[in-house]
């Protein structure tokens, strides 16, 4: 049975791995293939700093909160393993800053050691009067995607460097299930007015003395439109841009100035940091993640698509929970085709 995963960012590769890990032994005829026009280090995921942190409010979307938790717990379990370094996975503590008191986030009990900031800590951040401290995780995709690729290659998954123009193209080749992990460009395969780019830009600097993430929030400008600083294992990411509807992937001098000035104001020590790069990317923004099955008619046949896209600025944060959910949807497809047998053990 041929399964094609379209998209090789964090969502595509982790979904491919989940499906292969769970079903290959049950279904030896399972062939998983990955199709993408961009691979690491050129995907949207590669530009992200990789900090695990959902948005401030889940808008009542409990499903997404559960997927976030599943991802955090899964990664936390891998922290002590030898794979952690190769995956680009490590713990990071830090600050979320506000200009007024806000309700605690849905993820306060998922992260470690969540608490409010003390008055002395707030002295570090003039202009901010309220905040949180917690310990979370970083998963650097420049290491994680190659790690996933290695695991997939070891399992015999094949990779194709090509831009898929339509689901039909896959079905015509004999693919029975397509996993649609195309991120911000999902609209090219099937129009989706709810999916919009949330353009971001970041400056990469050398500032190894920065050991905490610092994320500011401006309740008026919206998420990620306020300065943030996230240290990585090789460089520190400065950001704070979120432009809804902007498809431009080129770096903007104006945005550079905004990021640089606001981050240096936030952390004066950055003034001496050396700039080593700049990058722009398009968050695949959507009111909620699209994670569902769809039956597509292909001539006389019915083919299946599992959509898994629209993770906005929290793709890394939610990826594993979504990959597992997509694998469950795949399992239900196999059930219907009576291919995998009963998942429940016989009493």
């Amino acid at each position: 049975m041929r399964v094609a995963v379209i998209g090789a960012g964090v969502i595509g590769l982790s979904t491919a791995l989940c499906i292969h890990e769970q079903f290959h032994s049950l279904l030896p005829s399972l062939h998983v293939e990955v199709y993408a026009d961009r691979y690491t280090p050129h995907t949207t995921s590669d530009g992200a700093a990789g900090l695990w942190q959902p948005y401030l409010s889940d808008h009542g979307n409990l499903q997404e909160t559960l997927w976030n938790k599943e991802t955090f717990d899964h990664l936390l379990g891998l922290l002590g393993s030898p794979a952690a370094k190769e995956m680009g996975l490590f713990l990071l503590s830090g600050y979320n800053l506000f200009t007024q008191p806000v309700p605690d986030p849905s993820w306060k009990n998922i992260v470690l050691g969540f608490r409010n900031l003390t008055p002395k800590e707030l002295e570090l951040f003039p202009g901010y009067s309220y905040g949180w401290f917690n310990t979370a995780l970083v998963l650097e995709c420049r290491k994680y995607l190659p790690w996933l690729t290695n695991r997939l290659t070891q399992r015999g998954v094949k990779f194709f460097h090509k831009k898929v123009e339509s689901f039909q193209e896959m079905f015509a080749q004999g693919v029975e299930v397509v996993i649609n992990c195309t991120g911000v460009r999902a609209g090219e395969l099937q129009p989706d007015p709810e999916l919009q780019p949330g353009r971001g830009q970041v400056i990469k600097v050398l500032a190894p003395w920065v050991k905490h993430f610092i994320i500011t929030h401006d309740m008026e400008s919206g998420i990620y439109n306020s300065p943030y600083i996230i240290p990585g294992s090789e460089f520190t990411v400065l950001g704070g841009i979120q432009q809804h509807g902007n498809w431009n992937e080129a770096n903007s001098a104006q945005d550079h100035k905004t990021i640089w000035e606001s981050c240096c104001r936030l952390l004066p020590a950055l003034q001496k940091a050396k700039i080593v790069g700049e990058w722009s990317g398009l968050r695949p923004a959507r009111p909620r993640v699209r994670l569902e099955r769809e039956t597509i008619h292909h001539g006389q046949l019915q083919a299946q698509v599992i959509h898994n896209y629209g993770h906005g600025g929290f793709g890394i944060t939610i990826h594993w929970g979504c990959a597992m959910a997509a694998a469950r949807l795949f399992g239900s497809i196999l059930q219907e085709k009576k291919l995998a047998g009963s998942p429940e053990p016989r009493l």
Binding site: L79, G80, S81, P82, A84, K85, G88, F90, L91, L92, S93, L112, G113, R115, L117, T118, K120, E121, L124, F133, T135, A207, P208, W209, V210, K211, H212, P231, S233, E234, P268, A269, Q271, K272, A273
Partner: protein, 341 residues
């Protein structure tokens, strides 16, 4: 009298910070630093420079707390300025974990560091061999950067620094009015202080840039302190051991103990080994003394014996030493016809 001539013996964190405090309180003083070693070869250069105080048995707690608070406040301001990276000062968060829950609820410094609180159950899961712990945020002074930054500020004031082994304080009496003894472990010989003894510490400095939090075992023997470029892994506390040579068996033992606290350290690269002799004493010797020899007097201010806690209290003790120097100057100026007391 002419500008008082002060010699500071020792150029570790204590000598340099004391010299700086003297210049701040007495700009007209002529200060010279004499030391056998300068950065990167001082005891301070081996230390991680973490602001986690050591408790001196014979110094009143309120005094130790005041020293720590002054030091923390001073460094906090630098860490929040554009000079932070050059000075090597940065905030770091982490955990102190205990295999057995300690009797005392709170250490005396818990309200000086930031965000001090007990660790949650979830946080403790990362340390299956430990029962309880404390989470907090403190400061770290990376050496050599901090010492080099102090040297730069000192040179800007016109202070002279010379490499010179002082074998006897009396060598200096003809050229200097006041001697400030910041010789650290060197005081054992320099002033024959038998109450001063080394506690040998071996550490590893490794490249593991993904480690961003400190971890310290409450027994003080095993610790992981992330610096700007390297992580300091420790350590040992070997009383009366004067050897400065790294011991390979100890290196392996330190590495294993640290990996058991933080498994990802298995991937650490480029392991460097260093040894320092903590200048240990029941209390820091911070006092004036008037030495006498054949009718000649020599004014001395001692500031040594900080053991494992040098960085944590350096600024506080430096300021107090500078005050004592001020008292010496007042005494000199009070003497008749400018002749030495």
């Amino acid at each position: 009298m002419a500008a008082p001539k002060v010699a500071v013996v020792g150029a570790g964190v204590i000598g340099l910070s004391t010299a700086l405090c003297i210049m701040e309180t007495c700009p007209s003083c002529s200060v010279t630093i004499l030391s056998e070693q300068f950065s990167p070869n001082t005891t301070s250069d081996v230390a991680a420079g973490m602001l986690i105080p050591h408790t001196y048995p014979d110094t009143p707690i309120h005094v130790q707390k005041q020293w720590f608070k002054e030091t923390f406040t001073y460094l906090f301001a630098i860490s929040n300025s554009a000079e932070a990276s050059e000075a090597g000062i940065h905030l770091v968060s982490g955990w102190q974990v205990f295999r057995n829950t300690p009797k005392e609820e709170l250490p005396f410094w818990s309200d000086v560091v930031l965000g001090f609180r007990p660790m949650s159950k979830a946080e403790l899961q990362k340390f299956p061999q430990h029962q309880s712990g404390q989470a907090f945020t403190t400061l770290k002074c990376d050496c050599p950067p901090y010492l080099l930054w102090l040297e730069k500020r000192l040179k800007a004031t016109g202070i002279q620094m010379y490499t010179r082994k002082v074998a006897d304080l009396w060598e200096l009496h003809s050229k200097y009015d006041i001697i400030v003894n910041c010789a650290g472990i060197g005081a054992h010989q320099l002033v024959a202080d038998k109450k001063l003894f080394p506690i040998r510490g071996q550490v590893l400095k490794v490249h593991a840039p993904w480690v961003k939090n400190f971890i310290r075992d409450g027994d003080g023997l095993t610790y992981i302190y992330p610096g700007i470029h390297r992580i300091t892994l420790g350590g040992t506390r070997e009383k009366e051991n004067w050897s400065l040579s790294p011991d390979p068996g100890t290196t392996k033992d330190i590495f294993d103990r640290c990996c058991s606290l933080e498994p990802s350290l298995q991937g650490a690269q480029d392991i460097q080994v260093k040894v320092g002799l903590r200048p240990s004493r029941q209390c820091v010797r911070l006092q004036r003394e008037v030495l006498s020899q054949g009718g000649v007097k020599l004014l001395v201010v001692h500031n040594y014996g900080h053991g494992a806690g040098g960085f944590s209290v350096h600024r506080g003790t430096a300021k107090e030493a500078a005050c004592l120097v001020g008292e010496c100057i007042a005494a000199l100026q009070g003497s008749s016809s400018g002749a030495k007391l």
